[in-house]
């Protein structure tokens, strides 16, 4: 029996389905929009299959515990670095700056 990919969920046990409507937040819409822009023409930095492969490559714990768009933003980060659009260093630096900025405003 081959091992399952972390995203290969068919037939696994699961709890009740939360059938309520959940409006996407602005952050989620932005991730969705950026994904579309980055993988479509004219940029075409990657294809959907590469996105899936990247998500499947997340740590199992991360996949199991993270929300849908969280997985997408992690994959986006990975692919942007893999494709050389951004560097790891500049992402880390910007992330630190964003955190610091929000800590300062203290809201």
């Amino acid at each position: 029996m081959t091992e399952r990919a972390i995203s290969d969920l068919g037939g696994l046990p699961g709890g009740p389905i939360d059938t309520a409507e959940h409006e996407p937040t602005l952050s989620e819409r932005r991730v969705d929009a950026m994904m579309m822009l980055l993988r479509s023409k004219p940029r075409s930095f990657w294809v959907t299959d590469e996105n899936r492969r990247t998500i499947e490559g997340l740590e199992p714990k991360t996949y199991a515990e993270s929300a849908y768009y969280e997985r997408w933003v992690l994959a986006m980060r990975s692919l942007l670095i893999e494709k050389g659009v951004l560097s790891e260093a500049e992402v880390e630096a910007k992330l630190a700056e964003v955190r610091a900025r929000h800590a300062e405003t203290g809201r």
Binding site: G10, I17, S27, R29, M36, L37, L38, S66, R77, V98
Partner: protein, 226 residues
Amino acid sequence: MSTHEHHDHGHSPGHSHAHDHTSFQPDIKEPSEDWEFLEIALRELLIDKGVITAREIQDQIETWEKKSPEGGARVIAKAWTDDDFRRRLLEDGNAAVAEMGFEIEALKLVALENTDTLHHMVVCTLCSCYPRPLLGVPPLWYKSREYRSRAVREPRAVLREFGTDLPETTEVRVVDSTADCRYLVIPRRPEGSEGMSEAELAALVSRDSMIGTATAFALDGAGRSG
């Protein structure tokens, strides 16, 4: 919070020449999830470097906001009233919906017709494949671990959680969207709906009936939840 956004480094006037100074970055609540910081960081970097613009992101959001299940419902209503269209829709989904102005690129749209002996329920066990051009953004439950894992194994229990009960004489066929096809369920036309206009019929077609976790609304209001 929108003030905060405009004074971010990535939005200061000295940077992107394509930056639109009109206020189209609406208020956002303070990031609470860790990943939201990453979203901000990546977006600002990409804008700073001229890879994408804030305007493009906003336009893309608005493009997708315009797509909703109402699109799919119009297709269903036409299929119910126009038998030739229904046949064309089943034969070549892309071409048929293109007649109504829906562009589906690259992927293959496949319509699945429900009958009194066959009920389709669509899932993407591997990720979240969904006919977005016709139904808009998928509901959270469609993307959930619970739906993706249980739909293929416990379809009757899952249907019951959506308030849908079908006789055992109806074959429930769970369709796993594993490749380049995107599935649109044609729910059964409600009893007593003969003579209704396409617009009236479209109002009976819920998003969930086009995914297959529900049937179309009955005329007596049965099956409609809050």
